[in-house]
Subunit: 275 residues, 2 copies
């Protein structure tokens, strides 16, 4: 799963400056975008989030057409690819103060899409509770920025291959998301997903579900509420709609809401398997 | 103030892999170390913090002797230098899960020490209140890790050269620190500094002050308490002991506690000026 093709500011390269603010301070954003036969069904949502993040961080936004050309170039020839676009504030002098006229660094890298078993989509996946809790920071919440130590620490808690994901609470004990996916649940007949106003990432797949299901509610979600859900599923721009079979000892069955959203995903152009 | 000499894993280089987890996730730590005529008076404290951070993040700690040799090599010939040591979890596959056997990337870079006017040390500096608030995350608090977007956003709030620093509150409204320095105040005859258990960085200069003044108290500090302080000063491993002349409209005078700590700093081997 190593990156085999990378463009840095449009040119083939596999390195960047040690003085880049991306490595110095995590001063930047990224998107990981699923391509299927050369097309990225959620491209517009990825671009929207990237532009929003640039606006919030004060980083000049990249040209969307240029990003798409480069993403297509690095993923060309692969039926299933993941393209990571990383945008940093670029090289700068030492110190937190951003350069007055930043020259962002744009890294566009293609990876083979992760192999997922069909069973994951049919029967669902087992997930665990993480001990790592998400800190609260409304200024950064929702963005897919490069400050991801919380996710690294959470994902470092376990290594069993049979458990592909873990759920995260925030410091107040509310359920927020998985380490690399958002979470939806059907509770008392209502489709709900946690707010990402104080922590967490506003996933593009989450946005797609919210758009397809305007009756869904963005809310606070306590662990005991989740325990009584009829259905639980995870959403990821890369992996799609993943039914949750069990959270720890609590067992769920993929239900009609999950199945309908999986069909919606197929309709967007994502295959159900090898997703 | 550009880095003119850099070693990456011991070899002269000015780039690192785009697949480094330092840029992908801010997955690493750093130290900025003041060297005076080839010596770093706070070296042991920097090394201790780096080792502590490695333990907390699960990154193999670098060899301290090797770090010192490399720091001495890149700063050789400069009377006043700042050496930044950046340690990342190294190159890894895509995804938050840390490699089972990480090969850290060690970047050792020398910079000219920032020029500071003697006036800053004699009369003190003017600082402002930042609107950016520090989020709460005990798992990361205290460490000098590479997830520094909060400091970048805070430092981006102003550009007046006459105001070298800004003070940060946390989400609960407690005073924590400046953007790149810790804060001490003399209140009702007691030397106090905010706790960095939930956010903020445990500065090496802060540790030195706490060691020199075992009567100092680590506490919560409200803005209104700070307003009634007799003395306020900032501490930085790079810049030393900086009296605060004013926070916004509130004026302070450098007092005996600040002066005694400045003398202590000179005794460590730091010059008062060109600090």
């Amino acid at each position: 799963m190593a990156a085999v093709r990378v463009l840095v500011n449009g040119a083939p390269a596999d390195t960047l400056s040690v003085a880049d603010r991306g490595v110095a301070y995590g001063d930047g954003l990224f998107e990981t975008i699923r391509f299927v036969h050369g097309l990225a069904p959620l491209w517009a949502r990825h671009q929207q989030r990237l532009q929003d993040g640039c606006r919030r961080l004060g980083i000049p936004a990249p040209d969307a057409e240029q990003c798409l050309r480069e993403a297509a170039a690095v993923s060309a020839g692969w039926d299933h690819a993941v393209v990571r676009i990383t945008l940093t504030r670029g090289v700068g002098p030492r110190g937190y103060a951003p350069p007055a006229s930043p020259q962002p660094t744009r890294i566009v890298a293609a990876f083979e899409a992760p192999a997922m078993h069909g069973d994951s989509y049919l029967q669902g996946i087992r997930v665990r509770w993480c001990e790592t809790r998400l800190g609260l920071q409304p200024l950064l919440a929702g963005m897919k920025h490069l400050n991801r130590l919380e996710q690294v620490l959470a994902r470092a808690e376990w290594s069993e291959a049979a458990i592909p994901e873990g759920l995260l609470l925030d410091l107040d004990g509310n359920v927020i998301s998985a380490t690399m996916a958002n979470l939806f649940a059907v509770i008392d007949g209502t489709l709900v997903t946690p707010s990402v106003e104080r922590c967490g990432v506003a996933g593009v797949a989450r946005a797609e579900v919210l758009s397809a299901r305007p009756d869904a509610q963005v809310t606070t979600l306590r662990p005991d509420q989740l325990q009584h859900a009829r259905e639980v599923f995870l959403t990821s721009g890369v992996r799609g709609i993943l039914p949750v079979q069990a959270v720890g000892d609590t067992v769920y069955g993929p239900g009609p809401v999950t199945r309908a959203m999986q069909r919606h995903w197929c309709g967007l152009g994502f295959p159900m398997e090898q997703a």
